[in-house]
Assembly symmetry: D2
Homo-oligomer: 337 residues x 4
């Protein structure tokens, strides 16, 4: 077994070229930049990486590139979920060959499965994988992995950790309570950077945070400060991270907001595989202006040339709602409604 | 454009052989049997058909076989959802070549998308598909397709119908209200056989009902009686269909209960691709006894040799709950709890 | 025991005077009008009647007035839920004294209780009530009453029926399947007029429909046509009822849309007990114009003097969404967003 | 205005006598004990206090007693939600007269209201209350109070704080981010003791924690240690609090588990107003044994005479599930299932 998985892993996006294919050069440049900025590991084929929108062959290629770029500098946690357990096990074998540190397997999705089925699925994979496995719990998208199921799965040595993206800190604590007794080496990672500092304080070992693909410096600093016990400074940055996270999360269908922000850091992601309406394209442009203002405050990018509004602490979605409301009020006055 | 899509389409399961591969001979035998029993069409790669658990190549093969077996005797509605719009459009082209009548495209899943994104996705496909497209709304598993989105999509002539598996009859009515004005030829199919008769009465054109893969005779008869205005007889059978549907739906993770019932009709489905615990295998055996009793009442199969319990109208899940309760009560009396 | 409860019961609103007190004269005038228009019964203290916003004393007074106005012409089904079982039983006694036909008891709300607790609550009441009890299932607001619980409660002769406002027709069918075997006299009423005709067809005995407080003529006609087997005519009106219902349900917080419509029939309901913003008041005025147009088509009221837009079959909420969208699009073009 | 509301406020239960009436002597004894054990304030008529199960007169009496017992030793935060805004304002006036520090008003419940309606409701109360108001957000039971609504309400000086029982730490952080800028004196209290330490670390001012009614010593110590920056010790106790909280929360309908635990501390709560089945009574007895074992570990009560099982870190609900599973497995082997 390798060493415990800890620190900030980046669930990275995948740039596309003008024909909608993986832009391998840009992907390499992006991953290299992330490592240079200090993230502890790479996490290809996560939800942020839109793994469901790539073919099985493309998913393999993405992991291969991540492993090549990492070249042992940082560990790779490879998303390996495929159509079924047998296909997933094959991906595990492939990723072991590429040199990944471990795989991350999202719970079965589309069908909402019972705890027994979730258990049987992970058990089958853990018994046949040649590489360490981490569970990936994201109940808003996939069958939940509940605490009793995690407890049962702790008996399988191949399962070495869990990434939780539920956003429920008490759940993270319940997992830690169950895991620590049985498996001190078991890694618990939080995928919800809104509460990264609190997660580390209750005992999590790190995070797999989409924001670290946009502001690796900030995420890393939050991690380091918390580990160093400099809680006040950590919390000050945590609140800035929360504002950025909320803006990216709530302003567009996930993960479009995060992709809009990555582009601001100088990477060309292409058009994306999920078709968009003209209105959505305009929305994204508006969102980018807001994000640029936030990022420029941190000094990561220049402020937009047209300047930034005075910050009110009001999330952008509120501002849209306010404008909409004013317009509707005006229309009502004129009898148009 | 072809004629309006109507009648009972069977979202069929796919038998596997001992090595977990598609058992093509058994699949052909099963599909032929379904056509012989009177279903109006075949619907490969539906949710019942576990389309997400097959590879892209396998999904193509399944449709190919369905088209070959159908040989023009009945239309084929081919589930064509792939990893992204471009891959889906390619599948549409392939299925057009196989001679499918139309494709059914489930709304984007895993990510829960906004109405705008759902619209953009279907629009992109409809503008590029060489074959008629039906929308597939199944909000418990995929991004919902709401009524305003359907209204927008009605402008695309390639979109010729919708299959709704929400179980919400009022939603079906709203769709009919919106569609009928604009597109008299637009087909509305209900995927929720619990309310098949009511759906037909409010104006639906048919159903894509998993139960028709188990009791094609019964489903067809319910359809015919309703169409003939023999409502009382139809409703009597509808209640029997409801009991069967509920038993298959609630006794195991979908679609295991339906597969257990197909096996009773004499088809060997193999082990399935979703791993199961020992307890789940025993559960399935128990469920099959109950299903055999129900099916034997209709004369479709023999009663189990050990006989059937007096029917109480109580769904099986209740019976399990009752037994569990009695046991717990007993344990409590003995102080074990 | 009285005769089976069937037909259309109106869960009526309660007019308030300028000081926010019950306007007894207007309430009497309204209830008398309803009876004159043909509803089969009155249902004071339902959700439409905002029972939670009145004090215990006021709830008693409302039932008293309903019984006085009914004077035996139609039965009264009195909402009797109070703070706890003992208080509820006292209300049952009072309403028996007023001459109500039965009480309707909503499942415990605020806390979401387990089936066992829901059972214990209704059992306690049924064993102590001097008047027939109907269960009131409205899972969007109160603890759900599931089918196994209903089955257990069927053993209590005092419980004579259920009103279901889940909107789930399959649930209504499951209740009917369980109840009919054990208790042929058990009454099943649908509180979801979007599917009134289908509910009657599957075997429901009537409806407790808020719309019957606005268009008692229409609701009654839908009921009569269905009972007479004139399904086609019934369905044509059902679709009109659906449009009206949706407009009232989705255009404002329940039951404001229904109250806006009652006012159009000539009753002064006063300001309401739930405070409203200025924007909400303007919204209500806009909604009333739309409702007036719908009602004028049926000949129930005059068309608004400013005329009605061409009807597009598009629910009003969509129209608002469209206008909002156009405005936002325009703002975006101008760079304001 | 008074000083900022901070520290641990106990949402206390209300003992009943043999006839189901408030046991005033026992209530006084209990509240006095709580104050003696160090809680910072009393919170009558919270969800734990089952405010919906008492009459309006009883709710007033409960607050009166709390104020009398507190006698200025600790502040009283009085739950004041009544049937409507006018009734609630009257309660505010009464509680001001009793000497309460502030009132806590739960968001409108039963109906799920829009943000606009929630805003209008609290605005109406805040403009008319003679006593400081805290908002009470508990989205699992009542209309949610979202961040934009809180921002609007911050303009009303009478609103001095919020209690959040959503369990969502990121929500608490969003509220703090919005409130701190505008109103440094605004108090944010967490009602979810599963994450009490993290809540305090992100900036919450205290907690309204049901557990503090059972283990005031422990809750107070967690608070004091966190405030003193002794995070490691605080977290060790936080995990013990989590275990206790989960056991009380998930083992019975809320707040029965908490009441079972209060009884162990020597207070006679009587039978409760929500009727229970025989099975539920046995369940509660079993739960009390488990709770007694947990509490005895802390030295708060003696261990049960029959001894305690070896602790496995497994929540009790799991243990019940395990036993049920074994029993079902056994039954299956015997063919009974």
């Amino acid at each position: 077994m390798g060493s415990k998985i800890e620190g900030i892993f980046t669930p990275h996006v995948v740039p596309l070229d003008g024909r909608g294919r993986i832009d391998e050069a840009e992907l390499r440049r992006y991953l290299d930049w992330l490592i240079g900025k200090g993230v502890h590991g790479l996490y290809p084929n996560g939800s942020t990486g839109e793994f469901t929108r790539f073919t099985a062959d493309e998913r393999r290629r993405i992991v291969q590139i991540a492993c090549e770029v990492a070249k042992g500098r940082v560990p790779v946690l490879a998303g390996a979920a495929e159509a079924n357990a047998a296909e997933t096990i094959q991906a595990c074998e492939t990723y072991a060959g590429y040199g990944a540190r471990a795989v991350a397997i999202v719970s079965p999705f589309y069908y909402r499965l019972s705890p027994d089925s979730v258990y049987a699925y992970f058990r089958e994979i853990a018994l046949n994988s040649p590489i360490d496995v981490t569970l990936y719990n994201i109940p808003m998208f996939a069958s939940p992995i509940d605490v009793p199921t995690i407890r049962r799965l702790l008996e399988l040595p191949r399962i070495v950790g869990i990434k939780d993206s539920s956003g429920d800190l008490a759940f993270v604590m319940r997992v830690i309570a169950v895991a620590r007794a049985a498996r001190p080496d078991f890694s618990v990672l939080s995928g919800w950077e809104a509460v990264l500092v609190p997660a580390l304080i209750v005992g999590a070992d790190g995070g797999t945070n989409a924001s670290s693909g946009i502001v690796p410096e900030l995420t890393r600093k939050v991690y380091d400060l918390t580990r160093a016990g400099r809680l006040e400074e950590a919390m000050r940055l945590q609140y800035k991270l929360l504002e950025l996270f909320d803006t990216m999360l709530f302003s567009a269908d996930f993960p479009e907001g995060f992709k809009a922000a990555v582009a601001l850091r100088g990477f060309d992601l292409g058009a994306g595989r999920q078709p968009r309406t003209e209105g959505q394209r305009v929305d994204t442009a508006a969102l980018q202006r807001v994000l640029q203002c936030i990022l420029s405050e941190h000094g990561y990018v220049d402020a937009p040339s047209e300047g930034c509004p005075v910050r009110t602490g009001v999330p952008e979605r509120d501002r849209v709602a306010q404008i909409t409301q004013s317009v509707l009020d005006e229309l009502r006055k004129r009898g148009a409604l």
